[in-house]
């Protein structure tokens, strides 16, 4: 008979690379110089591809587009840790993830121009379609994780979500299942501080998002999401845990959405520009570049050359995306189900015949 503490918890935060480009060498993951350079290249590619998308959108060549500006480290750092057979469940703001696993950029652009063919995942990858219904896809990751385990497949299900998504019921149901079944699943939350106009502090009263893991009996950690090395390390550890039967991990990457929510949004309506400025100093590319420069792995001319090379690659991707023929009515019917009903066949005929 008493009032006694029966369980205790703590949530850790991992930081390795600071904004000045200094690293905690004890925590530095064992990456070769080539790998470190590759990480930087992916960060830069993401930034440039994102910039290009925004300008295409302004020219009316893409539809509404959600920018990844500022979140490159969270995306690249995590995706870089994956195996090519791992399954990826993107949300809708993961350009850096797609690029890191070599998804055809032309397809990515095509999707955002309103063409479902952009979501046809190449056979060598296991990426689920971009998910618009926020938070609903964690369950699919749970299902695939269970399937992989059933087949003794070492693949891990890696699901991306935003801070807003943590409020959805499906987030809870999925991670609770991940706990119960000890699933090989890693949930990577890009806490970019905003869900459109709703700030992180109005999304939940929990001090951190990472601590939500405690509700499910799974591992939770917060990382500096603008630190590509910390994100990489936390993801690699989580993947290792998942592959060795240690169950699921929830990783909160603290980062910031430097852009408007999408090209249809105007963030000045609801957030303080000073806040954006403060985050500018924490830029994920800059710190990685400083780190490489400190290590003499990088200099101004490398930078210029790389930018040129990447821009050429973007040009090609845009050309490729736009070279494709317009979809036809049949594309709308074909994938509704395996075999169209007699009514659907009639409709297809009417549609093919009669369209203006």
């Amino acid at each position: 008979m008493a009032r006694e503490t029966i369980v205790q918890f703590q949530i850790e935060r991992l930081e390795i690379l600071n904004p000045l480009g200094e690293v905690d060498s004890e925590l530095l993951p064992p990456l070769s110089d080539t790998q470190l350079l590759r990480l930087y290249e992916l960060l830069l590619l993401t930034r440039l591809a994102d910039e290009r998308a925004l300008s295409l959108q302004r020219e009316g060549r893409l539809g509404t587009f959600p920018s990844s500006l500022g979140q490159e480290a969270a995306q690249v750092g995590s995706a870089f840790a994956l195996n090519s057979r791992d399954w990826i469940f993107p949300s809708f703001r993961e350009l850096g993830v797609f690029l890191s696993v070599d998804y055809p950029l032309a397809n990515y652009y095509r999707y955002w121009s309103g063409d479902e063919r952009g979501l046809l995942c190449p056979p060598e990858l296991n990426i689920f379609p971009i998910n618009i219904a926020v938070g609903t896809h964690l369950l699919h990751a749970a299902g695939v994780a269970m399937g992989a385990r059933y087949r003794s497949d070492p693949a891990v299900a890696v699901v991306y979500l935003g801070d807003g998504a943590t409020s959805k019921g499906d987030f809870h149901e999925a991670l609770n299942m991940a706990g119960i079944y000890r699933l090989p699943l890693v949930a990577i939350c890009q806490n970019n501080q905003w869900a459109i106009s709703v700030s992180r502090t109005r999304q939940t009263a929990a001090e951190t998002l990472a601590q939500k893991a405690l509700a499910f009996g799974i591992h939770g950690i917060q990382v500096d999401g603008n630190d590509v090395l910390a994100v990489y390390r936390a993801t690699a550890e989580a993947l290792e845990r998942a592959r060795t039967g240690g169950g699921a991990t929830f990783i909160e990457c603290e980062t910031y959405r430097m852009s408007d929510h999408t090209t249809a949004d105007d963030a000045r309506r609801y957030r303080d520009p000073d806040e954006v400025e403060r985050w500018r100093d924490k830029d994920p590319l800059l710190r990685m570049r400083r780190f490489l420069e400190n290590r003499k792995l990088w200099n101004e001319s490398n930078q210029t050359q790389l930018e040129d090379r990447l821009r050429q690659r973007l040009d090609l991707a845009v050309t490729e995306a736009e070279a494709v023929e317009a979809p036809v009515a049949e594309d709308m019917f074909r994938y509704t189900c395996h075999q169209l009903s007699s009514r659907q066949l009639e409709q297809l005929k009417e549609c093919d015949d009669g369209h203006p």
Partner: protein, 321 residues
């Protein structure tokens, strides 16, 4: 009287409801400082403050469930779901609870809430942003379904929905938000629920439509002796007006955006086939979206009933003697 578009008319309706009745609360994702992603709630947060107009977390079932509690407590919640495609997560709260609270509590509690949500195609928006699944809600006893089609009825129907003692789903046709402008009376007024509107008189064919299809049907039917009925309320729908019109015209065409099979048009056709078949001179035709997964923008024009498709159906029906 000012010239308003649909967004402005709804905004004005909300503003007046908030001003007149302190039981009215407006909430949803991004409705406060941001004024809603379509700006429908613009200025309300500034005018009424955060106890009356507030943002919610990203949780659609939560938004509706919260509204059920607020309504039962005696308030008049007007909840926004950002797009109809995201109400699917809230269907349990809508059908299990909002629809049934009066019945379950034998009248002790009621549920006078309004769920506003943009719906329908034609705006080149991403996945789930152009759904047209009103039929689900029309099959839920206890739920009313209202669809405006002009700035004037948008305001009047909204105020009627807020005043209604039962839960109402209020679907805002996104394609019309800024497409239609007209004079809207400044003062608060009510367009009664459950009553259709004759948008064009005619005596050879009855065409029933709602939401954004009213605009398209009117264009198509312009030069024909077609009676265009703008349903306005889908549930409960105005059987009397429909049956009277069909009795006069003998021909019926239904235009709906939603996939054909199981859409609300089926109920209208079935009702006439049951209660008005003796006056029919021709089959009851439906021009509808196809039975496909709602396509992304590049394909959407194939799916949304076009003026041409409506026109063909009109001509086909008129060719029956």
């Amino acid at each position: 009287m000012a010239i308003l578009n649909l967004v402005q008319a709804i905004n004005q309706g909300l503003q007046q409801a908030l001003a007149e009745d302190d039981r009215v609360l407006v909430f949803g994702e991004d409705v406060a400082a941001d004024g809603g992603v379509f700006r429908v709630t613009e200025g309300l947060y500034e005018q009424f403050g955060e106890t009356r107009v507030f943002d919610t977390p990203l949780a659609e079932s939560g938004i509706v469930g919260l509204a059920v509690g607020l309504a039962a407590y005696g308030l008049r919640p007007v909840a926004e779901i950002q797009f109809l495609g995201f109400t699917y997560a809230a269907i349990d709260q809508i059908y299990t609870h909002a629809a049934r609270l009066r019945a379950r509590s034998r009248g002790r509690y009621t549920c006078p809430l309004v769920i506003r949500t943009p719906y329908g195609g034609g705006v080149k928006a991403p996945e789930l942003h152009e759904e047209s699944s009103e039929a689900f809600f029309c099959h839920m006893p206890g739920i009313k379904v209202v669809v405006p089609s002009t700035p004037s009825n948008a305001k009047g129907l909204l105020l009627a929905a807020i005043a209604d003692p039962d839960p109402v789903i209020y679907l805002e046709p996104t394609r019309l938000y800024r497409l239609l402008k007209e004079e809207v009376a400044e003062e608060a007024y009510i367009t009664p629920l459950g009553q259709a509107r004759i948008a064009q008189a005619g005596d050879q064919l009855t065409l029933i439509a709602w939401g954004s299809m009213v605009e398209r049907s009117l264009k198509a039917a312009h030069n024909y002796p077609v009676e265009v009925i703008d349903l306005q309320t889908l549930s409960p729908f105005d059987r009397e007006t429909i049956l009277a019109s069909v009795k006069k015209t003998g021909r019926l065409l239904i235009v709906q955006e939603a996939p054909k099979t199981g859409g609300f048009g089926a109920e209208l056709a079935a009702t006439v086939a049951e209660e008005g078949i003796m006056s029919l001179r021709a089959p009851i035709l439906r021009v509808t979206g196809y039975d496909v997964v709602t396509p992304l923008p590049l394909l959407e024009d194939y799916n949304l009933p076009s003026e041409q498709r409506i026109l063909s159906a009109i001509e086909k029906l008129l060719s029956y003697p």
